[in-house]
């Protein structure tokens, strides 16, 4: 651009800074054009808001037992009816979402951090550390995670913290593999070599150059990891080894449907958490897909 061009640039004349065209901005633009992903983001935000403001929108305390009102179908009094102990299903659903989403987010945070750490070490240093990390992931990836998690949940006992730790500490291998692959690719790039030749230490190379370049592909993975963690919590609770009662979670609300009587005669007790779980996972999958398309347009059209 010559100086003449610059003076004629309307944004400059209007006193605005020229619109920068960074990869991030372009990715955000692409994401916003992805209509389904945007819709999913809106719905997911509503679900999150209802979880955050659960204490405000609940109409009864979620664990308030009222045996006189037990087993009531939906009414003006109880929008989604009441359960076996007369607890309000609407209150339990919004509060259950609070628990399910919190567990999912925290567990995904833990597993992604561990996955990034091990993936980076394994990919960057190679050698025996790579060997060790990869063999451990081999073992993990041979088992359906739920098998190990169920066993450990039974050993250590049930609590919300245990559920978060179990999911978080056992779900990292997929992330580690992904990060390792990315790191292996970035490690050989010219700019890393340049920085190294300037005398940068390994820790600086990893933090400043290698990891930032793996963040973009990782973003979609993190989205899916949150979905997987929410799903795992629901699964563990559904089997009676997740979030312990009386704390509501979508999974342990669904557990009531394992009794044929409630399945048949009280669908209002289990349909709301079932729909919410499905809707949340659906939104997260759409968002993750949008993020992946936005970061790497080659993926376009897969969904």
């Amino acid at each position: 651009m010559t100086t003449a061009d610059l003076t004629q640039d309307p944004t400059l004349l209007a006193g605005k800074a020229p619109k920068s065209d960074s990869p991030t901005r372009r990715a955000i633009q692409r994401f916003r054009r992805h209509r389904l992903a945007m819709l999913a983001l809106v719905i997911f935000s509503i679900i999150c808001l209802s979880a955050i403001f659960a204490p405000v929108i609940e109409r009864y305390p979620p664990d308030a037992i009222s045996l006189r009102d037990k087993f009531q179908p939906p009414s003006a009094e109880h929008w989604l009816g009441t359960d076996r102990l007369g607890r309000d299903v609407w209150s339990r659903t919004v509060n259950g979402g609070r628990v399910s989403l919190a567990v999912g987010l925290m567990a995904a945070l833990i597993s992604t951090s561990i996955g990034m750490l091990f993936g980076a070490i394994s990919g960057y240093y190679g050698g025996w550390s790579d060997m060790a990390v990869m063999r451990v992931t081999d073992v993990f990836l041979t088992f359906p995670p739920i098998i190990i998690m169920l066993a450990i949940a039974a050993f250590v006992g049930q609590s919300i913290v245990n559920v978060i730790l179990i999911i978080g500490l056992l779900s990292w291998p997929t992330t580690a593999r992904l990060v390792r692959g990315q790191v292996l690719a970035v490690r050989e790039e010219q700019f890393v070599l340049a920085s190294r030749s300037l005398g940068a230490k390994n820790s600086r190379l990893i933090n400043q150059h290698v990891l930032p370049n793996t963040i973009a592909p990782l973003l979609a993975e993190v989205t899916f990891a949150v979905g997987a963690a929410i799903l795992t919590e629901a699964g563990l609770s559904f089997l009676g080894l997740g979030v312990p009662l009386p704390t509501p979670s979508w999974g342990n609300m669904l557990e009531t449907a394992r009794s044929l009587d409630i399945l048949e005669n009280g669908p209002w007790m289990w349909v709301p958490p079932a729909i919410m779980t499905l809707l949340t996972i659906l939104c997260i999958n759409f968002i993750g897909d949008g993020v992946r398309d936005a970061i790497d347009p080659r993926h376009r059209g897969k969904g």
């Binding site: 081999d138 066993a151 699964g235 044929l260 048949e264 499905l278 999958n285 759409f286």
Partner: protein, 321 residues
């Protein structure tokens, strides 16, 4: 091909050994002492009695020794006896494994048959009405947890409509027949397969789209080959590779899905057995199921590699110059 198979098998062995060791250590770390299951607390057991018991079962040995002993027994097919009721683990497991494999095979078959056909169908009609409809449905399919699908299936088709039985593998009081089994299999297998129909459809569609615009497809069409042959022999043959990989990777999740479906439909399989074992801390059975699951997944991976080699000559000939 023989060398390729051998190499694949040899790669699996160290992983399997590592897995057995991990299972052993996990159970070793679990709370409780195996001797608890052999003593009656009301009979006043002295420390000396306990020590004798430990020595008799080799429990006083260091971990590596105990592991090797256990592995030796396991390799001879002796998986021990259940803490719960003293039944031999191996025998119970074999029966349950068979039932789980029936369920998994049926779900995988449905997933492949419906998913791959839908994938080819939509892949050839990108942006058409059917493409949008089926692709949209596939999103719901991949977002549907097995237990949600299972419960809705049970509620709608067994409880409300009464089309299919609500659980079990056969009608009680009637002699078992293949039709009866199939009848009981429909709901569990279909609800389990929804996720895989959706997954296989998405992968097939995506890889058909990748392949269908390649030059060699245009060449094949240009030569005047019938469209059917172009699609099946030229496009599909190449598009199927990623689907083979995904199928192999699916088996791991299929085991987890089967666990939920078995619980919902009281299908007497390995998953419901495992849940039962976990709840009463039946360690020999927990170890047995874990070992069998690992072997099933490893065999599935091996079969995937072999299929891959059979479908794609480039893979099988790699490194054989």
């Amino acid at each position: 091909m023989g060398q390729y198979i051998l190499r694949r098998i040899l790669i699996s062995i160290p992983v399997l050994i590592l897995i057995t060791f991990s299972i052993y250590v996990l159970i070793d770390l679990a709370p409780g002492d195996p001797t608890d299951f052999f003593i009656n607390p009301e009979l006043g057991v002295t420390e000396e009695n306990l020590a004798n018991l430990r020595a008799r079962f080799g429990l006083d040995q260091p971990l590596p020794v105990r592991y090797v002993n256990w592995l030796g027994q396991t390799l001879q097919g002796d998986l021990g006896y259940r803490f719960k009721n003293g039944d031999p683990v191996g025998e119970v497991l074999a029966q349950r494994l068979q039932n789980t494999l029936i369920l998994m095979a049926a779900a995988l078959f449905l997933g492949w048959a419906l998913g791959v056909s839908a994938g080819i169908f939509t892949g050839l009609r990108q942006y058409s009405f059917w493409d949008f409809t089926l692709t949209g449905l596939s999103f719901i399919g991949i977002s549907m947890p097995a237990f949600v699908a299972g419960i809705f299936g049970l509620y709608i088709f067994a409880v409300k409509l009464g089309w299919f039985p609500a659980g079990g593998m056969q009608t009680i009081g009637r002699s078992s027949s293949p039709f009866d089994l199939l009848w009981h299999l429909v709901l569990p297998a279909t609800t389990l397969s929804l996720f895989y129909i959706a997954t296989f459809m998405r992968y097939t569609r995506f890889s058909m789209l990748e392949v269908i615009n390649q030059d060699y497809i245009r060449t094949a069409r240009g030569k005047g080959i019938p469209e059917r042959t172009v699609v099946m022999r030229h496009a599909f043959r190449n598009a199927i590779l990623p689907v083979v990989t995904v199928t192999g990777l699916s088996v791991r999740n299929l085991v987890a899905g089967a666990l939920f479906i078995e619980t919902i439909y009281s299908w007497p399989g390995m998953g419901s057995l495992f849940l039962d074992a976990v709840l009463v801390r039946d360690y020999p059975m927990i170890m047995g199921v874990m070992l069998v699951v690992a072997i099933v997944v490893l065999i599935a991976n091996l079969l995937t590699d072999l299929t891959y080699g059979a479908v794609d000559p480039r893979i099988r000939l790699q490194g054989q110059a």
